[in-house]
């Protein structure tokens, strides 16, 4: 415990330096902006803005990128409440009750509760990251290659369970991601693989390039399909920002439960913010004395999912910082940022670069505080921004992504690749394949190959090493259990279909 306090003290000393506070502020502001604007998600925007951080010191760069991430979670709620358009996928459920509250003239209270809930959740999850950081790192250092491999299999199993729709398709896209990650030079032998003779591919396909394509360009192409209808923005001044005592009392429990759910689900790979907001909303509705209030402006319906998505955004840093395993595409981009800065992600970050580790954690809390303080007064500006039509926004995103993709290696080839991945991502979505699990497979591919390779070496080629080592066996058993649980409803449904016929 005293260790934790010393560490957090160090963290706050780093995070409170003027330059880092300024970067944190920039991050949360840009993040909120991105979150407010519909049609561009956190992955695409972090990929797009990553090149802007190349010139910054490592700690500052990561602080800013983290700020963009949780700022976006928060910004997404603003549009959900005011215009019934979720700015981010994680704010979809907030539209249900948030927009109803706004229509009842309670937009101010809804926004305030979202902010307060996010802050409370941010405080709890930051504390959790700080508390779990050291013990998990200690465990991670004990893990051998077989355990690492099994842990990643478990991570992918979680991604399958948390993915929407068809389980087999989720497994397939993960494998596609694993295969894609093999493009490039084999780290062990230096042989180019699957490069099809193109020297530009010898370094592999950059993660940022794929993310821009699959999440940036593909989303634009898809958005262009549907004609934009101008949504009715809640008119008039937003007054009564302060929630009443009744509001606070009514939402305190929801905030607490949402924070806990979000913190837990955020640690799991593949899910994070989106799934936890749904889970928190569902729980509130289920335990409510009068579930019919939900959908008609229940304040818990705003408080719970907003707390949950913010908590999850925060705790999803835990596997990255302690194990070096990114749980979702945003964390993979953080790995990309770390690598560019010359930091090897993993358990050694905490011991070798404590100022970076604890500085980042402390900055999350500061960032959450900044969000509450700056955002409520800025609501008016965000609403104005919403009036920027998509016909102007999407060419701007295209230009930004093009320059961003080019700037990583000063390579026009990367821009072409991003464009091709845009088309491919569009095709995936058209065929109901989710791109997020593919990205997770892509991130974990090289790590899995490496640990599999080493595990085979230390076991002298005996595959049973994965089941004879107890920790590894336990992780694999859990993964198998998850897959079976995910497959069961599908099998049952098919049986019913057969019966109907």
């Amino acid at each position: 415990m005293p260790d934790l306090l010393t560490n957090l003290g160090l963290g706050f000393a780093v995070a409170l330096s003027p330059i880092n506070v300024a970067l944190c502020l920039t991050g949360v502001l840009v993040g909120t902006l991105v979150g407010v604007l519909p049609g561009i998600g956190p992955v695409a925007s972090i990929a797009m803005l990553l090149p802007l951080t190349f010139g910054l010191p490592p700690t500052g760069a990561l602080i800013m990128l983290a700020g963009i991430y949780y700022g976006a979670q928060y910004g997404g709620s603003t549009t959900s409440i005011l215009v019934n358009i979720p700015g981010e996928a994680s704010s979809v459920v907030t539209t249900l009750d948030g927009f109803q509250m706004a229509r009842n003239g309670r937009a101010g209270a809804a926004l305030a509760i979202a902010a307060i809930g996010s802050f409370a959740a941010g405080t709890l999850s930051t504390a959790l990251v700080a508390a779990l950081g050291a013990p998990l790192t200690a465990i991670a250092l004990l893990f051998g290659s077989p355990e690492y491999f099994s842990l990643m299999v478990l991570g992918l199993a979680f991604a399958v369970v948390l993915a929407r729709g068809n389980v087999v398709k989720a497994v397939a896209v993960i494998l596609l991601g694993l295969l894609l990650s093999m493009v490039g030079t084999d780290p062990q032998t230096g042989v180019p693989r699957l490069a099809f003779g193109m020297p530009e591919l010898f370094d592999g396909v950059g993660f940022v390039v794929i993310a821009m394509g699959v999440f940036g360009f593909a989303d634009i192409i898809r958005n262009l399909e549907a004609p934009r209808h101008q949504q009715a923005i809640v008119q008039g001044r937003i007054s009564g920002l302060m929630p009443t005592a009744k509001d606070l009392k009514g939402s305190a429990g929801a905030i607490a439960r949402g924070s806990v759910i979000g913190s837990l689900l955020g640690i799991l790979p593949g899910g994070g913010a989106v799934i936890s907001s749904f889970a928190a909303y569902t729980l509130e509705k289920r335990i409510a004395r009068d579930p019919s209030r939900f959908g008609a402006g229940a304040i818990e319906g705003v408080a719970a999912p907003e707390s949950a998505n913010n908590a999850a955004a925060q705790t999803s840093f835990i596997p990255l910082l302690t194990l070096g395993i990114p749980g979702n595409p945003v964390m993979a981009l953080m790995i990309g940022a770390m690598t560019i800065q010359g930091i090897i992600p993993g358990p050694q970050v905490m011991t070798k670069q404590p100022e970076l580790f604890w500085g980042l954690i402390a900055s999350m809390w500061i960032g959450n505080l900044l969000l509450v303080v700056i955002n409520l007064p800025l609501v008016g500006i965000w609403v104005k921004l919403l009036r920027v039509p998509y016909r102007l926004m999407f060419p701007a995103i295209v230009a930004f992504c093009c320059i961003g993709a080019y700037s990583i290696n000063n390579s026009p080839f990367d821009v072409v690749l991003a464009g091709l991945f845009g088309l491919f991502g569009y095709w995936l979505v058209k065929h109901d394949f989710e791109p997020a699990p593919m990205m997770l497979g892509y991130i974990l591919g090289p790590l899995m190959e490496e640990s599999l390779r080493r595990a085979m070496l230390i076991s002298r080629g005996d595959v049973s090493v994965f089941v004879t080592r107890p920790v590894s066996a336990g992780l694999l058993a859990l993964a198998l259990l998850l897959l079976v649980v995910a497959l069961l409803p599908m099998v049952r449904r098919r049986r019913q279909q057969v019966f109907v016929e």
């Binding site: 397939a172 490069a195 599999l452």
Partner: protein, 160 residues
């Protein structure tokens, strides 16, 4: 379920879910291409992995999973492939490829400007009177941001 629907279910189309069927086939095709691409890579030697081991492992698993998706698409009902629009995908991709082609010879400013306009043409809602000045302003912003603030090493003009 009425009699006609039941008939459609039994004797209906051969491929009951073209969305999944063709999606799965495409994944199998990708796996096969990867197999072919990895044909020269050495495999495992004894207990140590060769560079080709993991690519072939992942490609093999993908072929199996893709095949499963396709087979399920044959037997279980679902959505159709739907319409593929032309204008949006083609012009957005054209803007990106144009940028890639121009950035070397023409420099940052012109490439950005032209790419924005090509992209803008992808939407039927674009109003040119508004799009052209917007593109100019955005080009100025991007140039200042990336060239001077971020310090991207790229010429701004063809002659610079």
């Amino acid at each position: 379920m009425g009699a006609s629907a039941r008939q459609a279910g039994r004797g209906g189309p051969l491929i009951r879910n073209p969305l999944d069927f063709f999606g799965g086939i495409a994944l199998v095709a990708i796996a096969l291409v990867a197999f072919w691409g990895a044909r020269d890579l050495a495999g495992s030697r004894g207990i140590s992995f060769g560079p080709g081991t993991a690519p072939r492992l992942f490609a093999g698993l993908l072929a199996v999973a893709g095949g499963a998706v396709a087979v399920l698409g044959l037997v279980a009902g679902g959505g159709g492939v739907g319409r593929y629009p032309v204008r949006g995908p083609v012009l957005v991709t054209a803007a990106i490829l144009a940028f890639a082609a121009m950035i070397g010879p023409l420099g940052l400013a012109l490439s950005t400007f032209i790419a924005i306009l090509v992209a803008a043409a992808a939407s039927p809602e674009t109003r040119w009177r508004e799009a052209v000045p917007f593109a100019a302003a955005l080009t100025l912003f991007c140039t200042l941001l990336f060239r001077y603030l971020v310090g991207l090493a790229v010429p701004v003009w063809p002659w610079s």
